[in-house]
Symmetry: C2
Subunit: 163 residues, 2 copies
């Protein structure tokens, strides 16, 4: 809109047949896998994958408590979304909100004993699912390749300032 009028037409660098095949396999496989893991977790323990993730993070935090925003950015949810999720989980007695001592704006979210207990009960079944559909289906090398590739992807995405 400034000087050049039309932005330079650059030919799209389409994916090669192979690349497209792999990308689609990845996309479809991930969707189906996550869907399945989510449904199985839901059936067996009543948690969604998101709630489970919250429980896991809290259980591993010092004192089993964490600030809302840490929790949110850690699992990549919006602050708003986490507020709603935690509200539901608090109503269910899984977590408890406390005012944060060091920063009066902040709120700490603490795992209750009930919440921890329910996580302990849910974990074995979930691990079984992950094994059955991912870990035990692949060779050690394949799993490692998967993990390492996605670590690179994540690292790049986090280091990039923005786009």
């Amino acid at each position: 809109m400034t000087s050049s009028g039309e932005q330079t037409e650059r030919a799209t660098r389409w994916l090669s047949t192979e690349q497209q095949r792999h990308w689609r396999a990845f996309r479809n496989g991930v969707a189906l896998l996550m869907d399945t893991l989510g449904r199985e977790l839901e059936d067996e323990s009543g948690f969604s994958l998101h709630e489970y993730e919250v429980l896991v993070r809290l259980s591993e935090a010092p004192d089993r408590r964490m600030r809302m925003s840490e929790l949110a950015s850690g699992i990549g949810h919006s602050r708003s979304r986490l507020t709603h999720t935690i509200a539901r989980m608090e109503a269910a007695g899984l977590v408890q909100r406390r005012t944060c001592s060091s920063d009066l704006r902040g709120v700490d979210c603490a795992l209750t004993d009930t919440g921890f207990q329910r996580l302990v009960e849910a974990a074995p079944g979930h691990v079984e699912s992950v094994r059955a559909h991912l870990v035990d289906v692949l060779s050690d090398e394949q799993l490692a390749a998967l993990g390492e590739a996605m670590a690179v992807v994540e690292h790049r995405l986090r280091e990039t300032p923005e786009r």
Copy 2:
């Protein structure tokens, strides 16, 4: 509940440290990647990844039309969800519903010229995103490993009768 009372207590086969590391990297990486691709697509073309997927499938179908249920199972959405999605897309003029000639229960979903046009406009940007955050970030071998591993996962999930 029948004979044995307690079901046999079997020790949970937890993941090894390495396995857990890879599984988490996979989970986090996938979440962040898909999130980013979705947001970029949304910003550039106004489509969600789901809508985009619908457009792609239709554009590749013979006659650019497909039965609702084929479409739904192809992309792994519930029939209900697809109904709602297609309703919105139809209101936006991207697709059109027609009665299916061979089966009066069925409904065919056809891509409109507008829909095809909008897909053509959206595609280059999306491919750029996929390259920037996945394809060009990995070696050919890594991408191939990713695709092949997930193809195995998907295949296993589809062949299993149910769980």
